[in-house]
């Protein structure tokens, strides 16, 4: 019975194992890489045009679709201001959007701690997962202004 592998077969096996290891390593590295985020201050309205049409642009179609799946009372959404930033694993970063401070701590594996603060202090902290393609929306009271947080490439 033949037990030894032919050199070509052995080479194919080695290449396959190397590829698998590379893939696993890449996935692992990707999981622990910096979290690239975009925070948007969004205003919701039932009017077709934003309150100040010269300044605000409509949110992206995918964000609109997700926002419309939420129990919000507005039908149109516009970006008031936007910040793109990255947060290394284990670190935190604060971005200012209007009067609102958004602090994000990257816990790794897409887990984040989001702290919302204003001029008069922190109002709340949320811990959860923010994977790619997922949207985190936070606001307060009846205000039609809120923050949208998502991962970007």
């Amino acid at each position: 019975m033949r037990t030894a592998l032919a050199p070509v077969t052995r080479l194919v096996w080695i290449c396959a194992m190397a590829l698998l290891l590379c893939a696993a390593g890449t996935k692992s590295l990707a999981a622990d890489a910096d979290l690239k985020l975009e925070a948007q201050l969004v205003i919701g309205t039932n009017d077709a045009k934003p309150p100040d049409s010269s300044k605000y642009k409509p949110v992206d179609a995918d964000v609109t679709k997700k926002l419309k799946s939420l129990p919000l009372k507005w039908s149109n959404y516009f970006v008031v201001s936007s910040r793109k930033f990255s947060v290394p694993k284990g670190e935190e970063k604060t971005e200012k959007l209007g009067d609102c401070d958004v602090k994000v701590k990257n816990l790794g594996q897409s887990q984040v701690v989001i702290t919302i603060s204003g001029k008069k202090g922190t109002i709340g902290t949320t811990t959860g997962e923010l994977s790619k393609g997922q949207l985190f929306v936070t606001g307060a009271n009846e205000t039609n202004l809120f923050v949208v947080l998502k991962q970007v490439d």
Binding site: A6, V8, T9, V12, W13, A16, L19, L20, A23, A24, K27, L41, I43, P51, K65, K66, L67, S69, L70, P71, L72, V80, S81, G98, D99, C100, D101, I116, S117, G118, K119, K120, G121, T122, I123, G124, T125, T126, T127, G128, E129, S131, G133, Q134, L135, F136, V137, T138, G139, A140, N141, E142, T143, N144, L145, F146, V147
Partner: protein, 171 residues
């Protein structure tokens, strides 16, 4: 006595010499005592060896005996192996077996990844901590859409979303 004379004497004893040379050797024997002694030794040697060769005869014909040996040699000689033709399937199998194994590993890895990594629609409910007195929060998740809503209820004067660019937003 020279070496040539000794050889001739031996040939004479075996009756292998032509008549003329045989006469010369006979003359030598008549006048040379050493040659006579050597001839006597040859005779004694033949007498001593006479019994050894008796009865050593082939039980079969010589040709048949040697043909058997030749046949035995040919049978024991290594026969050339027929050239093994490698089929296309064998070549493909050499690649397909490891490729199939890799594919199986990839599928197992994919299943394991899906099994142990929370999928987008299985996002855990976020935990919320409100920092202000008289405040609360509620959470809404649309797992299919992949969106999480955290809405705070805070005193109006502490709402950080109330103003933008100095203008008060709808309450």
């Amino acid at each position: 006595m020279t070496n040539e004379q000794q050889l001739k004497l031996q040939a004479f004893f075996d009756s292998e010499l032509p008549e003329a040379e045989a006469r010369e050797v006979a003359a030598l024997l008549a006048r040379d005592a050493e040659a006579t002694v050597l001839l006597g030794e040859l005779k004694n040697t033949r007498r001593a060896l006479d019994g050894f060769e008796k009865g050593v005869t082939l039980p079969e014909a010589r040709e048949f005996f040697w043909s058997k040996i030749q046949g035995e040699i040919e049978r024991s000689a290594p026969t050339p192996q027929p050239v093994e033709s490698v089929s296309v399937f064998a070549i493909l199998r050499r690649w397909l077996v490891p490729a199939g194994a890799v594919a199986a590993l990839a599928i197992v890895g994919l299943i394991a990844t899906r099994q142990f990594t929370p999928a987008k629609h299985l996002v855990a409910t976020p935990s919320i901590v409100t920092e202000l007195a008289d405040s609360s929060a509620f959470t809404y998740q649309d797992k299919d859409a992949g969106v999480t809503l955290v809405w705070f209820s805070v005193p109006a004067d502490k709402n950080p979303f109330a103003e933008v660019d100095g203008a008060t937003i709808l309450q």
